[in-house]
Amino acid sequence: MWLYEKKLQFPVNIKNKDVSLAKYIVTQYGGPDGELGAAIRYLNQRYTMPTSKGIALLTDIGTEELGHVEMIQTMVYQLLKDATIEELKEAGLASHYTQHNHAIFPTDTNGVPFNAGGIGTTGDPIADLHENLAAEQKARATYEHLMDLTNDPEVLAPLSFLRQREIIHYQRFGEYLTELEEMAENS
C-alpha cells in the first residue's frame, strides 16, 4: 500500500519554459531508461527475491522511483506549460500537441509511448540484480547527457540530484548482489 505525500522529493521550480528541453527530459518519464520503467521493474521483481533484505531494498528503491516519476512529470509540465503553438512546432512537438495538447505523456524523446518491454524481470535474482545495475548506469548516463543540454540552474539542480540517486541505488543493488553470490557459493 502507498500513502501520498503532498510534496516533491526535491524542489522543482522551473520559471523559464524550454520546449525542446521538455522533449528531451520526457525520456526519463516514459523512455527505456526512465523512472516509470524503473519503478515498475523494482516493484515487479521484489516478489521473486529470495531474502527479506532484497525485498525491502526493491520495495524502497521502487517507491523512491515513483517519487522520481513525479519530479520528471513536474519538470516536463513546467517546461511545456506556457508554450505557444509556434514554439511547439519549432521544437518538433506539434505531434505531441495533436494528441495531448499541453498535457504530459510518458514517451521517449522521439514521442514513442512507454513500453513495458524494458521492464527486465526473469525470476532469477542474480540476473535481475544485474539488470538493475545496468539500468541505474544507463539512467545515470542519460542524466549526464541531459545536463550537457542545458545551462539553466533550475533544471540542473534536480537533474543532478536524480543522477546521484542512480549512483546510490547502484551501490545498494551491488551490495545485495555480492551477498547473494556469497550465499550461492556457500550453499
Binding site: S160, Q164, Y176
Partner: protein, 126 residues
C-alpha cells in the same frame, strides 16, 4: 571520463554529510558522492519550512536504504531514530500551520476538508 565498475565494494559508514549539502547533492554520504558538473546550484523553492522537511525526509530515505543492506549497524540505527524524531516534530508544526502533507494528518479533522488546500507540489516548485 569515469566508467562504471563491474563490481561493487561494500560501503563503510564514515559519517553523514551536513544536512543541506547532503540534500542538494542527493547523497547522505560523502564517500558515495560523485559529482558530474561543478556544483553550485541552489534550491529553487521559497518554502523554507517544507525544504527542511524534504531534507530530513531525504536523509531518512537514504539511511533507510543503507540499513536495508547493513541492518546490523547500530550507529546508523541511532541516527535514523534521531532524524525520525526531528521529522515528526517538523511535520506536526508544518501541518498545523500550512495544511496536511498526507491523509494521516491531524489537520484533516478541521472544516472544510483541508486536503484540497493549494498549492499542489508541481504548482509552486514545492
Amino acid at each position: 571520463m569515469k566508467y562504471a565498475t563491474a563490481y561493487i565494494k561494500n560501503q563503510e559508514f564514515t559519517g553523514l554529510e551536513e544536512l543541506k549539502t547532503a540534500f542538494l547533492r542527493g547523497s547522505a554520504f560523502n564517500n558515495l558522492y560523485q559529482p558530474y558538473k561543478k556544483f553550485d546550484y541552489e534550491l529553487s523553492s521559497n518554502n523554507k519550512e517544507l525544504k527542511n522537511i524534504q531534507a530530513i525526509s531525504f536523509i531518512l530515505l537514504d539511511l533507510g536504504l543503507y540499513l536495508d543492506t547493513h541492518p546490523d549497524n547500530q550507529d546508523v540505527i541511532n541516527l535514523y531514530k534521531e532524524f525520525l524524531e526531528k521529522y515528526k516534530q517538523l511535520v506536526r508544526d508544518y501541518e498545523e500551520e500550512k495544511g496536511p502533507l498526507t491523509l494521516r494528518s491531524d489537520s484533516l479533522g478541521k472544516y472544510p476538508w483541508q486536503w484540497l488546500q493549494e498549492p499542489w507540489p508541481w504548482e509552486e516548485g514545492e
